[in-house]
Structures are given as structure tokens and as C-alpha cells.
């Protein structure tokens, strides 16, 4: 894998402290490397700084020490190579679903004739067809999150950063969206960095899972998920290694 020499994301020795009355060390000497087209999840306890790490890679939060490189370039702010999906769907309530789907491309100044076919295709693929003229509040939480993902995929980002994108959804919807996300990813193979609380989600989706310690956050373990792709829930969950990964990560996370 010669690509390993040219990682899509490289985080080297990064420090982050939140100043204030009580200084909080959020991240300490974080190191990680993600190869192009790799799907990597970060697991960690609440407050370990995994969302902060994602925001640093996204260019949304400044950091103190170390270096963050995306496609060998130092991160200095939000970049058009990156798409970020947040836990809240961030739909604008005053726009229709269709307008929300097109909003990202508008803000990124992607020409309409280039974005429109892509958006139409995503609308179809994400099961949002027929809802384009509805407003987001008329949709279920799962549908809104699909639209949020569609809005970002319409930007055709090389790198997808996802901060607990399904964290606010019920377990059933979450499982369904995991399957859909994987289907899309298997076609397009963006580089993905996913922050999640769910061990099962991390194992099902990822090539590698990074485990972070409690505050100040550091990457303490790395587990390579050696399960065949394309993955389907009905087959993957039969695989004995699936259960082993779940229990290994559960132990690391202190679940049991």
C-alpha cells in the first residue's frame, strides 16, 4: 500500500486546551493517520475530546501544538475537500427539503448545472423523493438526517467527517442508516472519519477503530476490523469475528 505514504489525514502530536476559569486539557499528543478511501471510526467515552478532534481536522477549531495535515496540506480552516455531517441535521427550517439539499452546493459555489443532477440522484437514493417540497419539520428525525447526509454528499467531498451522525436517532433507524451509508460508501469510497458512541456501528462500518482515553483524550488503542466487504448486516453478524471485535472493544471501553 504505497498510499500509506501519502495519508488523506495525518494528525501529529496535537494538543488542545480550552482556556477559561478552569483550563481544560481536551486533547494530549493525539496521533493518527488515515489512508485515502479508508473508513475509520473513533470510539471514546463522553467528553474525551473526540468531537473536538474531528472539528480540528475539519478546520473549525484551532489547535495549539502539533500538526494536522489533510492531503499533505496543513489545515488552516474549512476546506472544500472535506464534508462534515454533524449530530444535528442542521436543516434550515425555513427552507424546503429540496432547498436544504441544494444549500451546501450553493454555499460552496458549485455551479448549479453540476450540482443539480447529483442532488437529484441523491434524493432518489436516500428515499427523499416526493418530499422535496416539504419542510424539514414535517419529516422524521431519520429522514432529516438522510437529507443532512445528502446535502454533504452533493458536495462530492473526498473526505467525509461525521460527528455522531446517527446519535440522536432510535436504534432501528440507526441500523438502517448504517446500511445505507455503507452502500453509498462502497460505491464512492470517500475517506471517512466517524466519531461514534456505538461499538456495533463502529465495527460494522469501519476498516479500523481507534479507541480514545478519557480526558485529556489520546488514541490509546487501534483495532483493525478484518471483515469482508461488501458488508451486509445479515451476513456480517453471523461472522464469529464480528462478535469478537465487539467484545474486544467493549472491554477496551470498560463496558465489561
Amino acid at each position: 500500500m504505497s498510499e500509506q505514504n501519502k495519508p488523506a489525514i495525518a494528525v501529529k502530536n496535537v494538543l488542545k486546551t480550552f482556556a477559561g476559569k478552569h483550563e481544560v486539557k481536551a486533547l494530549e499528543a493525539v496521533d493518527l493517520t488515515i489512508a485515502p478511501h479508508e473508513f475509520v471510526s473513533i470510539l471514546g467515552p463522553s467528553g474525551c475530546g473526540k468531537s473536538t478532534l474531528l472539528r480540528i481536522v475539519a478546520g473549525l477549531t484551532p489547535y495549539e501544538g502539533g500538526e494536522v495535515l489533510v492531503n499533505q496540506k496543513r489545515v488552516a480552516g474549512p476546506s472544500p475537500e472535506i464534508g462534515v455531517v454533524f449530530q444535528s441535521s442542521n436543516m434550515l427550517p425555513w427552507l424546503t427539503v429540496g432547498q436544504n439539499l441544494a444549500l451546501g452546493a450553493k454555499l460552496r459555489k458549485i455551479p448549479e448545472d453540476q450540482a443539480a443532477p447529483k442532488i437529484a440522484q441523491l434524493t432518489e437514493m436516500l428515499g427523499l423523493k416526493g418530499f422535496e417540497n416539504n419542510h424539514p419539520h414535517q419529516l422524521s428525525g431519520g429522514m432529516r438526517q438522510r437529507a443532512a447526509i445528502g446535502q454533504i454528499l452533493a458536495l462530492d467531498p473526498q473526505i467525509l467527517l461525521m460527528d455522531e451522525p446517527f446519535g440522536a436517532l432510535d436504534a432501528l433507524t440507526r441500523d438502517k442508516l448504517n446500511v445505507e451509508l455503507l452502500r453509498i460508501w462502497q460505491e464512492q469510497r470517500q475517506t471517512v472519519l466517524l466519531v461514534t458512541h456505538s461499538i456495533a456501528e463502529a465495527v460494522f462500518l469501519s476498516d479500523r477503530v481507534l479507541v480514545m482515553s478519557g480526558r485529556p483524550g489520546r488514541v490509546v488503542r487501534e483495532v483493525t476490523i478484518d471483515l469482508p466487504r461488501p458488508r451486509m448486516p445479515e451476513t456480517i453478524k453471523q461472522d464469529p469475528r464480528y462478535g469478537e471485535y465487539i467484545s474486544e472493544l467493549s472491554k477496551l471501553m470498560g463496558v465489561y
Binding site: 474549512p78 442542521n90 434550515l92 425555513w94 444549500l103 450553493k106 454555499l107
Partner: protein, 248 residues
Amino acid sequence: MAKRWLEAIAFWGLLALLWEFGVGWLGVRRYLLPPFSDVLIAGWNAREPLLSNTWVTTVEVLVGFVAAVVGGVLLGVLIHISAFARRTLYPLITALQSMPKIALAPLMIVWFGYGFASKVAATFLFAFFPIVIATLGGMQNVAINLDEHFRALGASRWDFFWRLQVPAALPAFVDGVKVAMPLAVIGAIVGEFIGAEEGLGHLMTMATANGQTDLMFAAILVITALAVALYAVVERLARAVWWRGISF
């Protein structure tokens, strides 16, 4: 629906009856509070001056109110986008807002004369500040997650303003407009009290001076009806901003 109307009619009818007969039972003198029927009769007899003066006051209110909305929005936005304006104009506005507007109304007469302009100025003075504060508050009330989302999408300052802050500010803004509308009516009436040759406030002062308490009450009813009608229009328009309190 029918029940709601019935309730309203019964309630207001009861109040009218209470007024009509209450003054008799309690022996209130007519020049202090005439019975409701006297007020209606006085109003009917004076319908022509009442209507023409209502028109005068309405135009004053509308011109002053629209000027306050336009000026208030411009100033609110300016304070929002310019740190310099926030340091200089904002404290000035806060100071001016705490001045009693009624005390400034005579000054408007001195500056702008007895006619139309001073009433518009008084209306403006009363309605302006709530609009500034509501506009500014609304612009600064953008949900933090949406702000971050727009940053991640590399939104330009213009897009931030036009696609996010303005629509997000509208619910607070229309609340400010709702506060300002009745204040605009008060402004015009106060201006007319202090010095005018026409308008409902002028009619009221004339009626009081002539001991026509019934006509004065008729004018009060018309002013109230005018204020309620204008508020209803604003309320109706404000329904276009329906996304209050929705966030995902």
C-alpha cells in the same frame, strides 16, 4: 368557531351593558362617565369629523411606523455587522431608549411644527427603539450549530447574513414589530395632544375642553379600534414567519 364568536359577543355585550347601567346604579355624573349609549350617539352625530380625523391619524401612524421599521432595521443591522457601531451607536441608542419619549414629544412640535411632520416624528420616536432592539437580538440569536455548519460549508459573509442570520432573526423581529405597532399609535396621539390642528388626539383635547365627555369617549373608542385593527394586520403578516423555535 360559532361558539367562539358567541362567547366574544356575549362578553363584550356584557361589558357594554355593565357600562350602560352601572353608571346609573352607581350615580356617576355624566360629565365624568356618560352611559355607553350616549357615547355611541355622540360618536354617530360626530361621525364626519371622527372619520376625517381617523384618516389623518392613520396616515401619521403608518408613515411614522414604516419609517421606524426601515430605520430600525437598518440601524439594528449596522450595529450587528459593525464592531465600531456596536461600541459607539449601541450605547447611544440604549441611552436614548431610556429617555421618556413623552418628554421629547414637545420638542418634536418645536422642531417640526404643528402639522403632519411632528406627528410622524413622534410616532417614529415611539416605535423605533423596539424595532432596533428586536432586529439586533434576532440577528445575534443564530443557533450555534447552524453557525458552525455554515462555517464548515465555507459560507461567505453575504451568505451568512442573507441565508442564515436574516431568516433566523425574523421571529424576534416580528415580535418587535408587534410591540412597536401600538406604540406608534400612542406616539401619534401624544403628538396630537401637544399641538395639532387635526387628528383624533386633537379631537379628544377639543372635546375635553368643551366638556363633551361623550365625544371624548367616542374618540377613545375609535383610537382603540384603530390600534386593534392595525395590530391585527401586523399579526396577520407576522404569520408568514412560522419557523419560530424550530431547530434540528
